[in-house]
């Protein structure tokens, strides 16, 4: 009775020999995803964009408008890159993208306030660049609000209130705004933290399609099965094992990088995170196998993998929330392991929820593995003995 562990070892060595002889594919499972993750992290490593360029059009040129300009310049999120004479000049700068917003102070600014009326500060912002636009609007609104409160307190004082009373009462209901879990609105953990798993799922599924698909493409199935003593299940497991190791190590390195070295500590349960990311890798490897089986070949499998993984980040609900998507999109989102993993990651890493609340996500990830295997392995077994399926390009 041949020992399965010997067959397993032989099959893994066979895969390793292929990788040694094909540096491009070895790269796919080693330094290329590492480099991609490093670049992706590097993009957001600053955490928060600062000093976003704006233009100021001061048509009033008064003490108050100069105070507003000084306060804008002092805001760490803003940088006055242009003092424009006209609104047209400022808008041209926006279209030229040297600034992302233009603050316009009208010529009757001080006059309106002096006569007890209201003055308007106008902000044109480039909403096509929504991140810049949102941050600039938030910062300018804050500056205008502060200045407005100052003016109002001064007015109340003039009308007889004591300064203390004026400060305490200038707004009947004061708002305490709290952002939980990511209080600094740090893009490094919010976006890079989610984009790294998104990159890994592309690599994992692609690598699995290549690894399994090449046996069909090169018609090397007989040799592949023979090394595994005829068992397709053993052959697939041994083939995917090195990739499972490589991508799980990468996924765990990513988690360690953020949580230990970058200081974004895990607020909840660490083991669910590490288990979840390993399950996600396994799911995509098995889904890659299934893609080859359904596509009856490597190239079709790669096209399926591309369609499944490339837009996945958009559907996963990290940027645009799932609850706001139409029903069909929500359905597709739930058909992606990445979605469930990211929900788990947010729950445990950022939000510190009890581990029990992430168990459903772990179960779904495991379910993906099981379903992909149940569909993929039998279909592959059929293709492995169907010579008409070999050699398809």
């Amino acid at each position: 009775m041949p020992r399965p562990s010997a067959a397993f070892k032989r099959s893994i060595l066979r895969e390793w020999r292929y990788l040694r002889a094909h540096p491009l594919i070895l790269a796919l499972a080693s330094w290329l995803p590492l480099l991609a993750c490093a670049i992706m992290w590097g993009i957001f490593s600053a955490g928060m964009p600062r000093q976003l360029a704006i233009a100021v059009v001061d048509q009033d040129q008064s003490v108050l408008s100069h105070q507003l300009t000084r306060m804008l310049a002092a805001s760490p999120g803003l940088r006055i890159a242009l003092h424009a004479a006209t609104v047209d000049e400022a808008l041209a700068a926006v279209r030229g993208r040297s600034v992302a917003g233009a603050v316009v102070v009208p010529s009757d600014f001080t006059r309106s306030i002096k006569h007890g009326g209201q003055a308007t500060v106008l902000l044109y912002h480039d909403a096509q660049f929504a991140t810049h636009s949102g941050l600039i609007a938030r910062d300018v609104r804050g500056v205008v609000g502060t200045l407005s409160a100052g003016v109002k307190i001064a007015t109340l004082e003039k009308r007889g209130e004591s300064r203390l009373a004026a400060v305490a009462r200038f707004e009947p209901i004061q708002l305490k705004l709290t952002t939980l879990f990511n209080a600094q609105l740090d893009y490094e953990s919010f976006l890079a933290g989610a984009l790294l798993p998104a990159l890994l799922q592309i690599f994992a599924m692609t690598a699995a399609v290549w690894a399994v698909g090449r046996e069909l493409r090169d018609a090397t199935v007989p040799d592949w099965l023979q090394q595994a003593d005829g068992s397709l299940l053993l052959a697939v497991s041994a083939k995917l094992a090195p990739y499972m190791a490589a991508y799980t190590v990468l996924a765990w390195l990513d988690l360690l990088w953020f949580t230990q070295l970058r200081g974004f500590e895990i607020a909840g349960s660490g083991w669910t995170l590490y288990l979840g990311s390993a399950l996600m890798v396994a799911a995509y490897l098995l889904l890659g196998t299934m893609a080859v089986a359904l596509g009856r070949g490597m190239r079709t499998g790669l096209s399926i993998a591309g369609f499944y993984t490339a837009p996945a980040f958009a559907y996963a609900g990290q940027g645009f929330p799932i609850l706001a998507m139409p029903a069909a999109a929500r359905l597709w989102a739930n058909a992606l392991p990445l979605t469930h993993y990211l929900q788990l990651q947010n729950q445990q890493w950022m939000m510190g929820a009890p581990a029990a609340y992430s168990l459903p996500h772990l179960a779904v990830l495991a379910l993906f593995c099981v379903v992909a295997a149940l569909i993929g392995v039998p279909l592959m077994a059929g293709l492995a003995h169907d010579e008409s399926a070999w050699g398809a390009r």
Partner: protein, 377 residues
């Protein structure tokens, strides 16, 4: 003559290869419906929130009614227990909390400082922003009403009170994407990336296939004119894809569009030539048909965020600032967004025009140098 012969041969080769056809033509059309789908609603509305009412007064009930009425919010429950809200946040049932403290009404009546706490789920920035702005508007409405009544009680008229209350008004005018829709923000840029990637991967597939036969079946093995003809054929396919996206898809999805039509056509033509040149350079490194599909798939994500439309380029560390200049998507997306969505003039995209031309020249030179070695050998 050589140019046109190569042009025709390349088109024939590309469109008769099923794998290449899928990538160069079908993929773009499929993605043009698939990619915008999640963003169709454009805005985030009706985010589930919970109200923790510790005051149980007419004031707290009025505040809750304002929250109920706000389109950005959907009040799931009013509770007296803070722990219940915390639990619901963790479970993912809600993404925001309005905490109304004890003695709100008493403090308001006595003219003492009163506050409410607005809590958002910072793990999801867009949900957080929607919740906080919605709750702030609800609470702000209540506060404004009280403030105006107080000022009127002191003898001011209604109009005067409104002005005293907020001497400086902040007016926000979103440009170009005036509805501030999420789809309108993301999809135009991604469309350009889709055109680029489908061309790059499609060319990589064909080049890899030709490499397997020692380039014997390649359509343009002799002369620079033939090489240009080959590139022009690929550029034409990409240009048709551009017209599809900028003409049909933007209209179908009702995105801001058509700002500078003539400028856009010119720039798109330059963009397509540049991407074709890059595609030939990159494609020359593939020795097997399927390698391009496997290796280039991941590149879309980093390239998208290096463009600078969704993450400010000033926030990039300097090595990445340099890397982004080497990517065709950077000037391509910046320029086409400006021309299509912002109505920029060609003068206002002169930097991107120069950048595209430089990349085209470099890719053409390096690509042809490699091609000569490979196609001869």
């Amino acid at each position: 003559m050589n140019f046109w012969r190569a042009y025709g041969a390349t088109l024939k080769a590309a469109l008769s290869d099923f794998g290449a056809l899928l990538l160069l033509v079908v993929a773009g059309i499929a993605y043009s419906f698939f990619y915008p789908l999640p963003y169709q609603p454009e805005q985030v509305q009706q985010v589930p929130v919970m109200v923790v009412d510790l005051d149980h007064s007419s004031a707290s009930r009025q505040l809750t009614r304002f929250a109920l009425a706000h389109p950005q919010l959907r009040v799931q429950q009013v509770t007296g227990e803070l722990a219940e809200a915390q639990d619901a946040l963790w479970r993912g049932a809600i993404d925001g909390v309005l905490i109304i403290p004890r003695d709100l009404r008493k403090n308001l009546l006595a003219g003492r400082p009163a506050s409410v706490q607005l809590v958002g789920n910072g793990a999801y920035f867009l949900l957080n922003r929607t919740v906080l702005s919605g709750l702030a508007e609800a609470a702000g409405t209540l506060s404004a009403g009280i403030d105006i009544r107080r000022l009127e009680a002191k003898g001011q008229s209604g109009a005067q009170a409104a002005q005293t209350r907020a001497p400086l008004q902040f007016l926000s005018r979103p440009l170009f994407n005036v509805s501030e829709g999420y789809g309108s923000y993301v999809v135009p840029a991604v469309s350009i990336l889709i055109v680029q990637q489908t061309l790059l991967i499609g060319m990589g597939l064909l080049f890899g296939t030709w490499a397997e036969n020692g380039y014997g079946s390649a359509p343009a093995t002799r002369g620079f004119g033939a090489y240009l003809g080959m590139l022009a054929a690929f550029a034409s396919i990409a240009f048709v894809n551009c017209l599809y996206f900028f003409g049909f898809v933007f209209w179908f999805q009702d995105y801001p569009r058509g700002g500078n039509l003539g400028g856009m056509l010119l720039f798109a033509a330059l963009f397509c030539c540049m991407v074709a040149a890059c595609g030939a350079l990159v494609g020359s490194f593939f020795k097997e048909r399927e390698q391009a599909l496997a290796v280039l798939l991941f590149t879309a994500l980093p390239m998208l965020f290096l463009t600078g439309f969704s993450w400010p380029p000033e926030a990039l560390p300097w090595p990445l600032s340099w890397l982004r200049l080497a990517l065709p998507s950077t000037p391509g997306i910046q320029g086409l967004l400006a021309l299509n969505q912002m109505g920029a003039s060609l003068h206002e995209v002169r930097t991107e025009l120069a950048h595209c031309t430089a990349l085209l020249a470099i890719a053409l030179t390096l690509g042809y140098a490699r091609w000569r070695v490979l196609a001869r050998g």
